[in-house]
C-alpha cells in the first residue's frame, strides 16, 4: 500500500471518529437531563427559525402531569424526577408502539411538548385519548410507592412560520380550560 493510501485511510478514520464524536456531542447537547426526551435547546435550534417561528408543520400536544407540584411537595424532587422519567418513558413507549412519527421535548418541569407528524387532527386526538386513558390504568412506582398519575393535555395544529410562543399560549389556555 502506498503512503498516500495509508494517509487517506487514516484521515477517513479520523473523519469518521470526528463525525461520531460530533453526533454524540450533539445528542448530549439536545438531551434532557432527567428523561429520554429532547430539551428546550433542541426546540429552539432545530424546530424554530431565528425569529422563534416554526420551521415545519404538524401538531403540538402539551402535556402536564396532574398534581405534580403536590407530589414534589409531599415527597421530594428526587421522587418527582423519577416520576417524570417514568411518565416520559410511558409516552415514548405509547408513541413507538403505535408507530407514530413524533418528537418529544421536556419543555419545563412536568410540561412535555409532543410534536406529531403525518396525522389528521382526529387521529392525533384519538391517539392522545388512548394515551391518557391508558396512563390512568398504569401504575407508576418508585421503590415501595405506587402512583396512579394522570395528565392534562391540549392539542394545536401549527404551520410553518407560525409563532411558537403564540401556539404555546393557546395551548396553555386550552390546558386551563380542559382542567376546569
Amino acid at each position: 500500500m502506498h503512503n498516500e493510501d495509508i494517509m487517506n485511510k487514516e484521515s477517513t478514520m479520523d473523519l469518521n471518529e470526528l463525525r461520531n464524536s460530533m453526533h454524540l456531542l450533539r445528542k448530549q447537547l439536545f438531551s434532557d437531563d432527567i428523561t429520554e426526551c429532547k430539551n428546550r435547546l433542541w426546540l429552539l435550534k432545530e424546530k424554530l427559525n431565528n425569529n422563534e417561528t416554526f420551521n415545519d408543520f404538524g401538531y403540538m400536544v402539551s402535556i402536564r402531569i396532574s398534581d405534580y407540584d403536590k407530589i414534589v411537595e409531599e415527597y421530594d424532587a428526587n421522587v418527582g424526577n423519577r416520576l417524570l422519567k417514568q411518565v416520559s418513558d410511558y409516552i415514548i413507549r405509547f408513541m413507538k408502539g403505535n408507530h407514530l412519527n413524533f418528537e418529544i421535548v421536556r419543555y419545563v418541569e412536568d410540561n412535555f411538548l409532543i410534536l406529531m407528524y403525518d396525522l389528521s387532527e382526529d387521529e392525533v386526538a384519538e391517539h392522545i385519548v388512548n394515551m391518557e386513558n391508558g396512563m390512568s390504568n398504569y401504575k407508576f412506582k418508585h421503590r415501595s410507592r405506587m402512583f396512579q398519575l394522570t395528565c392534562q393535555s391540549a392539542v394545536m395544529q401549527y404551520i410553518e412560520h407560525e409563532s411558537f410562543s403564540s401556539v404555546l399560549d393557546e395551548l396553555d389556555q386550552k390546558l386551563f380550560e380542559n382542567a376546569m
Partner: protein
C-alpha cells in the same frame, strides 16, 4: 355394647361402637367441645373410622367458624386472655386493639384529619387454617394484633414519634375479617417515618414465634398496603395498595393519594361508561390486520381480528385502555361474545381465514367456549379459523386447554400461541400444547437489529421448525425489520409496515377482496 376408644393417635376423638358378636363395628361416636367449651359425645353416620374422623373434622370446623363469628361480632376482644410465649416479650394488648368488623369503615370515614390507613394480610393464611385449624388461625390473628400494638407502643415509649414531631400517637387496630387487619393511625406521618415503621413491623412479625400448640411455634410473613389520606376514600386506596403488594409479591406498597381528587377516578369512571355503552349498543368493533406469507406480501394469507371499542365521540379505543378494566369490572366476557359474533359474521360473508384471540380467562369460560364451538360447527368455518391463545404464561391447567384445543381441532381449527418468547417462560407450552403456529413476541422482533436478540429469535424459529410449528413475526414496522425477519427463516409476517389494523370495509377495499 361398649363404646371403645381408638388408641391410634391419628383417630383422636373417634370411638367405635360394637353391637355384633363377631366384633363388626356398626357405628362411630365422636368427642369434641362445643362453642362454650362443653365436652360433647355424638353418634355420627359413618361406615369407617376414616369417615368418622372426617365427620369430626367437619363438626370442629363448624364450631371454629361459629366461634370466629362470635368473636368477630364482639365489641371488645377477648384475645386479651391469650397467653403469649414469654420469649416473645409481648405485653398485654393495648386498648387500641379492636375486633369489630363493622366499625372500622365508619371510624375511618368519619375521621376528618389526615391519617394513615394500612391494611395487612397474613401470607398463606389458608394453609394455617387447613393445617392447624380455624381456632389456631383466630388465635394467630389476635397475637398479630397484639404484637403490632405492642411494637407501636414500644416505639412510642422510645420517643420515636416525639422525635418526629408527633406529640401523641393515636391508633386503632381492627380485625377486619379472616386474616386481614386494619391499622388506623390518626396522625399525619412523613412518608419516610411511615416507611420506617412499617418496615420495623414487618421485621418484628417475621421474627416472632407464633405458638400453634404447647410445644410448637411458627413464623409468619405479612403484606402491607398503606395510604395517607382523609375521609372514606383512604380505605379504598389502602385496598389498592394491598392488592398491588400481593400482585407484585412485595411485602409493602404505599399508594400515593396526593392526586386523588383529580381526574384519575373520573377517567376510570369514563372507561366504565364506555364499557357499558359498548355492550348495550353492541359497539364492539373488530379491526383486522393482515398476516402475510414471506413469499407474498401483497395479499394477506389470513387476518388477525383485534378488539376495539368506541367512545361516545366515536373515537377508537385500544385494548390498553379497556382490557384490564373490563376484566376488573367482570364485563370482559360480554365484550368477547360480541367480538366472536362480529368476527364470525365477517367470516360468513367473506371467504377469508381469520385468527381469533382467546385468553386463558376465555378458555376457562364454559359458556363462551361452548358457544364458540357450536357456531364453528354450524357455520362450518373451522378450516378458516385459527384460535390464538394469548397471555399463555397464565396457563395453569394444561389438560383443560388441551381438551379445548382438541375439540377445536376436530372441527379443523388451527391453534397459535401468541407472544412466544416473552419472558422466556412459555417454551413448555409449545411442547405440551398441540399448536400449529407461534407468534414471536413483538418486543423481541422489534430488537432484531441487536445481534443477541437476532440469535435468540433465530434459535426460536429453529426450535419451532424442528417441532413442525410455523412461525409468525409480529411488529414488522419497517423494511429493515422485515428483511431481518425473513433472514432468520420465519414463515409469516405481520406489522404496521405491511398492513395497519383497520375495520373490515377498509380491508376489503385495500386488498380488493370479493364479498360473498
Amino acid at each position: 355394647m361398649p363404646i371403645r376408644t381408638i388408641t391410634d393417635k391419628q383417630y383422636k376423638g373417634v370411638s367405635e361402637l360394637y353391637r355384633k358378636s363377631d366384633g363388626e363395628v356398626t357405628g362411630y361416636y365422636v368427642t369434641y367441645r362445643d362453642i362454650d367449651g362443653k365436652p360433647i359425645k355424638k353418634r355420627v353416620d359413618a361406615a369407617t373410622r376414616d369417615e368418622a374422623l372426617l365427620k369430626l373434622k367437619e363438626i370442629k370446623q363448624e364450631i371454629d367458624l361459629e366461634k370466629q363469628g362470635k368473636t368477630m361480632s364482639a365489641p371488645i376482644p377477648e384475645p386479651l386472655e391469650i397467653i403469649l410465649p414469654e420469649e416473645n416479650e409481648v405485653e398485654k394488648p393495648s386498648k387500641a386493639v379492636k375486633n369489630s368488623t363493622s366499625d372500622h369503615k365508619k371510624i375511618i370515614s368519619e375521621h376528618k384529619d389526615v391519617a394513615i390507613v394500612s391494611l395487612l394480610d397474613i401470607v398463606a393464611f389458608d394453609d394455617i387454617n387447613i393445617l392447624y385449624g380455624y381456632e389456631a388461625g383466630i388465635r394467630i390473628v389476635h397475637m398479630m394484633q397484639n404484637l403490632i400494638a405492642d411494637t407501636l407502643n414500644k416505639m412510642d415509649a422510645d420517643g420515636l414519634f416525639a422525635k418526629n414531631g408527633i406529640a401523641a400517637l393515636s391508633y386503632e387496630i381492627f380485625h377486619v375479617h379472616e386474616d386481614r387487619l386494619c391499622l388506623f393511625i390518626k396522625n399525619d406521618f412523613k412518608h419516610r417515618l411511615l416507611d420506617a415503621i412499617i418496615k420495623q413491623l414487618i421485621t418484628k412479625i417475621s421474627k416472632y414465634k407464633f405458638s400453634v400448640s404447647d410445644e410448637s411455634h411458627i413464623h409468619l410473613n405479612v403484606t402491607f398496603g398503606a395510604t395517607k389520606a382523609d375521609g372514606a376514600d383512604s380505605l379504598i386506596y389502602a385496598e389498592k395498595a394491598l392488592k398491588e403488594a400481593k400482585r407484585s409479591h412485595n411485602s409493602y406498597i404505599f399508594h400515593d393519594s396526593t392526586s386523588r381528587n383529580t381526574n384519575n377516578e373520573h377517567l376510570v369512571h369514563k372507561v366504565y361508561e364506555v364499557l357499558i355503552d359498548n355492550i348495550k349498543e353492541e359497539k364492539v368493533t373488530p379491526h383486522f390486520q393482515g398476516i402475510f406469507d414471506v413469499e407474498n406480501q401483497t395479499v394477506p394469507y389470513k387476518f388477525e381480528s383485534l378488539m376495539r371499542l368506541k367512545d361516545k365521540e366515536g373515537r377508537v379505543l385500544s385494548p390498553a385502555v379497556f382490557m384490564e378494566k373490563s376484566k376488573e369490572y367482570r364485563l370482559y366476557t360480554q365484550l368477547m361474545s360480541q367480538m366472536i359474533d362480529k368476527v364470525f359474521d365477517v367470516m360468513e360473508k367473506n371467504d377469508v381465514a381469520m385468527t381469533l384471540n382467546l385468553s386463558y380467562v376465555d378458555i376457562n369460560n364454559p359458556e363462551l367456549c361452548d358457544n364458540l364451538i357450536s357456531r364453528v360447527k354450524k357455520m362450518k368455518i373451522g378450516k378458516r379459523l385459527t384460535v390464538e391463545i394469548v397471555e399463555s404464561e397464565q396457563i395453569e391447567d394444561i389438560d383443560m386447554i388441551n381438551e379445548f384445543i382438541f375439540s377445536l381441532k376436530k372441527l379443523g381449527v388451527l391453534i397459535a400461541i401468541d407472544d412466544f418468547g416473552s419472558g422466556f417462560s412459555n417454551f413448555d407450552n409449545i411442547v405440551k400444547l398441540d399448536v400449529d403456529y407461534v407468534k414471536l413476541d413483538g418486543s423481541l422482533v422489534s430488537k432484531i437489529h441487536d445481534e443477541k436478540y437476532r440469535i435468540i429469535l433465530e434459535n426460536m424459529v429453529k426450535i419451532c421448525r424442528d417441532l413442525g410449528i410455523k412461525t409468525i413475526a409480529e411488529y414488522i414496522s419497517d423494511e429493515s425489520i422485515l428483511d431481518l425477519a425473513k433472514s432468520i427463516g420465519v414463515d409469516y409476517l405481520q406489522g404496521h409496515h405491511l398492513h395497519k389494523p383497520a375495520q373490515w370495509d377498509s380491508v376489503v377495499e385495500k386488498f380488493d377482496l370479493i364479498v360473498v
